[in-house]
């Protein structure tokens, strides 16, 4: 059977990430893809409501506590030096790097931000 070895690097020092869920798609201007691009700015209002600004859209969301938290695993393939002790045949192991306990959900329709309003009007 497949055995997948999951280990946590350090018990106390796990980072907590936040999952962000958008209803929609994130598109890149160029065909180079999203990688390396800045998505946008995430702010919080004084009431703690997250506000995301993507392109010329502004999205209001909310923070949801996940019933089942996620763990972020990082795969370490064999051939590395650190898998020996785990004695895995395949030599693949997973390291928990972060936990996700909350997510920010943006599901409302975004509002446009108009930058250059004609001055005459």
């Amino acid at each position: 059977m497949v055995q997948i070895i999951i280990s946590s690097a350090g018990a106390g020092g796990l980072a907590e990430w936040v999952l962000m869920e958008l209803q929609g798609e994130i598109e890149a201007r160029y065909s180079t893809g999203l990688a390396g691009n800045l998505l946008g700015d995430l702010h919080y209002t004084t009431e703690g409501i997250p506000v995301l600004i993507v392109g010329h859209h502004i999205l209001y969301g909310k923070i949801i506590h996940l019933e089942k938290p996620f763990a972020v695993l990082v795969k370490h393939t064999s051939g590395e030096q650190d898998c020996d002790e785990l004695g895995c045949k395949t030599g693949t192991q997973y390291l928990v790097t972060a936990l996700i306990k909350n997510k920010i959900l943006f599901k409302t329709r975004p509002k446009p931000i108009i930058t250059n309003v004609p001055k005459k009007v």
């Binding site: 997948i4 890149a28 010329h56 599901k107």
Partner: protein, 1185 residues
């Protein structure tokens, strides 16, 4: 006037005038008032020519009658000639319309028809003989002045030939004389009969007859008298052209005037005042000066007898102012005279009458204007007729109503009256003129007729000549033998003319007649109960018979009940249509015609030769049922006979049904008495079927008749009794001088299946061919009487397989035909001695009979099929099955023949086909009743063949090419499939395949391989009981297994399921392998390429990613094609670029102010509404490992 004269005679004093009055017919002239009787009798006693009784009765309805009083201006001292006042005023009124043609009700006339006809001859001579001379007196000026003979032409006038004169008698005889004119005017209004005129006439009549007869016939007088008579009266007086001595009544004419005197008197009368001596004439002319004592005193010659003088008389209308009858000023119309328009007020009438006449007493003093209808100026208030005298004076005649309503007179009755008022205005008597005209006309007609017949004869003689030349002897023989015989069919000639001559079944006849009689209430207006006691002896007998036999004749009882049933609300029978059905030649059409005629209908026939499209049919039905022929038929109502209705199109029958279904207004009336809805109601009334319709068909089971049958009185014609038919045939042959013994005739009947028409036609044919004696031999050998009668298939088969009952000798004796006739097949060809020597044997008779039956049976294929299907079920007598073999040979021959005939269009071969049934008959016929089933074997076999072929086709098409190369369909069916089925059923353990041994696995694999090779599989099917079954598909078992054989032990459900599953898997596997085999070269090529580049696999994966990226890039590059203008040139954005360069810093500034995130960001967001499209990606476990 005449009456007056006569009346005066006995009294010895000049009669002044006879005044005409209405009197009640019920009380004849004499009876009304006893005190008056004497004078009346006196006035009546003189001469009365008897009038035919029938006419009187015929024309006078018993109750109705215009009352008239003849008031002889007898010198009866007390009354002054006035009888009128004493006459009872009641007179139910012979309404004028009683004899108006329009209102004449045909049924009544029809009912009295025979009497009318009987009376006519009696009346005719009288009128045409002695009276015609009188007629002319009236005639000339009637004809001259009568604007139109118009209205009062009664049916009688139409019936009696010389109607012209008589009807003209009713036309306004525009009077010469004022008085007469007045009369006429009055008459004209009321339909031509004026009280005054009548009175006078009646007087005249009664004069001529004895008092009693006068009394009794007074009513007749009423009808007979026309104004013409008064006119004659008055005319003589006025114009004095009357000859004093009137031939017929020498005694009656006391005071006669010579013609000159009459003229003088007339002139005097017209000119002078009443005081003058000739004023009497005038009085007579006007008929109103009666009863005046003064006038009574005067010796009165005035009623001048018209003498038959051939004088040219110019009559003048004298309207001189000093005339007594000077037209009154128009503003003083004779309103007071105008009699009450309605005859229902006799009292008034009577009151008026006397007034009228009383006014005449002093015509001038009282109100001359009122009296005088001749005006010089057109009256303002009344209708008038313009009259111009020969002298150019114009007068206007006032039209007045006839109070008595007796204006329309029966011209017939007037016939002999006309004679009395003879007035020869022409040099030649009108009668002679008329006779001349008549004779001329007759002569011309005769000439034409003779011409026509001459031409016809010449034509025919030519034909006959030719024929005679060619055909020779028979024609001549015919010519001398039966020169008197018309070239008409005996069938027509001896067709039944009346009910008792009908040959068809009595019960059927009665039923139809009864049904037709049920229509009487609505058609003729007769009531049923009144009619019931009357029905003839036949019907009474019929009823008795029916009741006697009702116990066991249920159908007839039902029919009787139907006929006895009550009429429906519209007083029509429940069944609006009678449907006669039966084979041809039974006399259905004849029956319908005879009975309809018997019941007093005019038959309108519609048969197959007529256009029977729905529209034409509707038109015809409506014409026949709602109209009535005016000419010819004598006003009989129509009875529509739809012959051969089974050939009519469905739509036409639907039209008939819709006519039957029409709702009459009676429903509406029952709802409310007054239904004033105009158009709809009228239409409904028009639509209600009020005439009987008789439909005739041969086959009552035609689909199109289905609905009609339910609504119709269905009368099925049983075959004619051959005894009756023989009797009738004997009569006919006797009448035609043909000797026929009953045996021969019976044979003929039998041969034609009691078809009357065929029998008679055959007789005539034989007769025509010169036979004077009919023998059995003739009957047998002639084929004339045989028509194509179709028998049902079953009867054909039955006749083939069953010997005819051991019957009495079929045709008299049992002749035997020598075998060669059998071979030749036309024994009848030689009518000569040879045929006589060789009578038919029973077997050959049977042979011929079957041959005929087979030839006339239409569906030959079916006949043969039935024989084939049934002959093996018969009891076979010979154990060697020789008959069966022979029969099979015959069948084979039949197949060969029909095949040859149809393939090569060699249709003369078809004539041999009917011999097959004959052969079967000779081989298999027995006296047992065969149980014959309808042939279905061929149909079944055909269905199976086609199904099997389809299966094999499917199988073959699914074969793998390798298999197919060795399996042609025929081979497959015969050799492969049977064994294949065995191969396909190996023994498989009912355990999981995991547990199979390797051998078993091999077995299974080979089974699956075979099935795939033959493209067979098992398919699950759901049975009707809910079970699931695996079946072989295509189901070749059907092809190669006989259903009667025991089936092999089939595989179990599980085994089949397993096999089916394996087959599916194997198919998939093969398909996958095929796909892999296709893919493999590419993969290898790619692998090689990859190896050539990097040598390892990951790089190839990488290269895949790169490829994808490249593709995406390419797509993007495509999007960035240079912009082109309309003409396809690349637009070079120079200026924008410059502008952009200018603006750019500014824009950048704002961007900076807002932040790069907004507007200029490289990433943007597209919202997806409504759906939560969570990002899903397939993640393979191998990627995790």
């Amino acid at each position: 006037m005449l009456g007056a004269c006569n009346a005066v005679g006995p009294l010895g004093s000049p009669a002044h005038v006879s005044v005409l009055r209405n009197w009640n017919p019920g009380r004849r002239v004499v009876r009304p008032s006893p005190p008056l009787r004497t004078p009346l009798e006196q006035s009546c006693n003189a001469r009365w020519e008897p009038f035919p009784r029938e006419e009187e009765e015929l024309l006078r309805p018993p109750v109705a009658g215009a009352a008239q009083v003849s008031r002889g201006r007898a010198e009866a001292p007390s009354e002054g000639g006035y009888l009128r006042p004493h006459l009872p005023p009641h007179h139910p009124g012979l309404e004028a319309d009683t004899f108006i043609p329009g209102s004449t009700r045909p049924p009544r006339l029809m009912g009295t028809g025979p009497r009318v006809l009987g009376a006519l001859p009696a009346a005719h001579p009288r009128h045409s003989g002695p009276t015609c001379s009188r007629e002319d007196t009236a005639g000339p000026w009637l004809q001259h002045y009568a604007p139109a003979p118009g209205g009062p032409a009664t049916p009688q006038s139409l019936l009696t030939g010389p109607a012209g004169a008589r009807s003209s008698a009713h036309s306004p005889p525009t009077p010469r004389k004022g008085g007469c004119a007045g009369q006429w005017a009055a008459q004209r209004r009321g339909g031509g009969r004026g009280p005054g005129g009548f009175g006078e006439l009646t007087g005249g009549e009664s004069d001529r007859e004895g008092p009693s007869s006068a009394a009794s016939r007074g009513t007749c007088c009423l009808y007979r008298l026309t104004c013409r008579r008064c006119c004659q009266r008055s005319l003589p007086a006025g114009t004095a052209d009357l000859s004093p001595s009137r031939g017929p009544w020498p005694t009656g004419c006391r005071s006669r005037l010579t013609f000159e005197e009459a003229i003088a008197g007339g002139d005097a009368a017209t000119h002078c005042s009443p005081g003058g001596p000739s004023g009497d004439h005038k009085g007579s002319a006007r008929k109103r000066h009666l009863a005046d004592h003064d006038s009574r005193d005067r010796a009165l010659p005035p009623t001048p007898r018209v003498k038959r003088l051939r004088l040219e008389v110019v009559k003048k209308l004298n309207f001189r102012p000093e005339q007594t009858e000077e037209p009154p000023p128009p503003d003083s119309p004779a309103g007071d005279i105008t009699p009450p328009p309605s005859p229902e007020v006799p009292t008034e009438l009577w009151d008026k009458g006397p007034l009228d006449t009383g006014a005449d007493v002093s015509p001038l003093q009282a109100s001359p204007a009122a009296r005088n209808p001749v005006l010089r100026r057109p009256p303002v208030l009344e209708d008038y007729v313009t009259v111009t005298s020969t002298g150019g004076c114009r007068g206007f005649l006032v039209l007045r109503n006839d109070p008595v309503g007796t204006g329309v007179q029966d011209p017939f009755l007037n016939v002999w009256w006309r004679g009395h008022g003879q007035l020869d205005l022409l040099g030649v008597s009108f009668a002679s003129l008329k006779e001349q005209v008549d004779s001329e006309r007759r002569r011309r007609l005769l000439e034409e007729a003779s011409q026509l017949s001459d031409t016809l004869r010449s034509l025919r003689s030519e034909e006959v000549g030719e024929e005679g030349r060619t055909s020779g002897a028979p024609e001549e023989e015919l010519a001398d033998g039966q020169g008197d015989s018309q070239p008409c069919l005996w069938v027509d000639e001896f067709a039944p003319r009346c009910y008792t001559e009908l040959l068809s079944d009595d019960f059927t006849n009665r039923c139809l007649l009864k049904w037709l009689k049920l229509w009487d209430p609505v058609v003729f207006g007769r009531e049923r109960p009144a009619r019931r006691p009357r029905p003839g002896p036949e019907l009474a007998r019929a009823g008795k018979e029916a009741t006697a036999s009702s116990k066991w004749k249920s159908h007839e009882q039902v029919l009787e009940d139907m006929l006895e049933a009550e009429l429906d609300p519209s007083r029509r029978p429940r069944q609006k249509v009678a449907l006669l059905c039966g084979p041809p030649g039974l006399g259905k059409t004849t029956l319908a015609h005879v009975i309809a005629r018997q019941a007093g209908y005019c038959v309108v026939e519609l048969n197959a030769s007529d256009d029977r499209s729905p529209e034409a049919f509707r038109t015809c039905i409506e014409a026949a049922t709602q109209m009535e022929s005016v000419l010819g038929a004598g006003g009989k109502p129509n009875c529509l006979v739809v012959d051969e209705i089974d050939g009519a199109p469905m739509a036409a029958i639907n039209v008939l049904l819709s006519v039957l279904d029409r709702k009459g207004p009676q429903e509406a009336e029952s709802g409310g008495p007054a239904v004033p809805t105009g158009g709809g109601r009228r239409r409904a009334e028009g639509g209600l079927l009020k005439r009987p319709i008789i439909c005739i068909c041969n086959d009552q089971f035609v689909p199109s008749l289905r609905q009609l049958r339910q609504q119709a009185l269905l009368l099925h014609f049983p075959p004619t009794l051959s005894s009756r038919l023989v009797q009738r045939l004997q009569e006919i042959s006797l009448r035609r001088g043909m000797q026929a013994d009953p045996g021969a005739l019976a044979a003929l009947c039998e041969k034609t299946d009691n078809d009357i028409r065929a029998c008679i036609n055959t007789l005539q044919f034989l007769h025509r061919r010169g036979r004077r004696q009919l023998s059995v031999r003739d009957v047998q050998t002639t084929h004339v009487g045989l028509k194509d009668q179709r028998k049902g298939l079953f009867s054909v088969w039955q006749e083939v397989f069953q010997l005819p009952r051991a019957q009495r000798q079929r045709w008299g004796q049992n002749p035997a035909l020598p075998p060669y006739t059998l071979l030749l097949g036309d024994g009848h060809a030689g009518l000569g001695p040879r045929a006589a020597e060789a009578p038919l044997t029973t077997a050959s008779q049977r042979f011929y009979h079957i041959l005929h039956v087979a030839a006339s049976a239409g569906e030959r294929e079916k006949v043969v099929q039935g024989l084939f299907d049934n002959f093996l079920r018969l009891r076979l007598r010979d154990s060697s099955l020789g008959a069966v073999c022979a029969a099979l040979d015959w069948l084979a021959l039949d197949d060969l023949l029909s095949r040859a005939a149809h393939h090569s269009q060699n249709f003369q071969l078809l004539r041999y086909l009917p011999f097959l049934p004959a052969a079967f008959h000779l081989l298999f016929a027995s006296s047992h009743i065969p149980r014959i089933t309808f042939p279905s074997s061929q149909q079944e076999a055909q269905n199976r063949t086609s199904r099997t072929q389809a299966l094999v086709q499917m199988l073959v098409s699914g074969l793998t090419p390798a298999t197919r190369s060795r399996a042609a369909p025929q081979v497959l069916i015969l050799d492969a499939l049977c064994l294949l089925l065995d191969i396909l059923a190996p023994k498989l353990r009912p355990v999981s395949t995991q547990l199979y041994s390797t051998r078993e696995k091999q077995q299974l694999a080979s089974l699956v391989g075979i099935m795939l090779a033959y493209s067979l599989t098992y398919r699950q099917e759901r049975m009707s009981d809910g079970h699931y079954v695996y079946r072989l598909e295509p189901n070749v078992e059907e092809v190669c297994r006989f259903p009667e054989l025991p089936t092999r032990k089939p595989l179990t459900y599980q085994a089949k399921q397993l096999i089916a599953h394996e087959i599916e898997m194997e198919k998939m596997r093969r398909a996958e392998a095929l796909a892999c085999a296709e893919d493999s070269p590419q993969a290898e090529g790619a692998a090689q390429a990859g190896a050539g580049e990097k040598g390892t696999q990951p790089p190839t994966a990488h290269s895949h990613e790169e490829q994808r990226l490249e593709r995406i890039l390419k797509k993007a590059a495509l999007e960035e094609q240079p912009e082109r203008d309309f003409f396809g040139r690349v637009v070079i954005k120079r200026a924008p670029a410059l502008n952009a360069g200018d603006v750019a810093p500014d824009a950048d500034a704002t961007e900076r102010r807002i932040g790069t995130a907004v507007g200029r960001s490289d990433v943007w967001f597209r919202f997806k509404e409504g759906v939560s499209n969570a990002v899903r990606r397939n993640l393979y476990i191998r990627d995790l490992l």
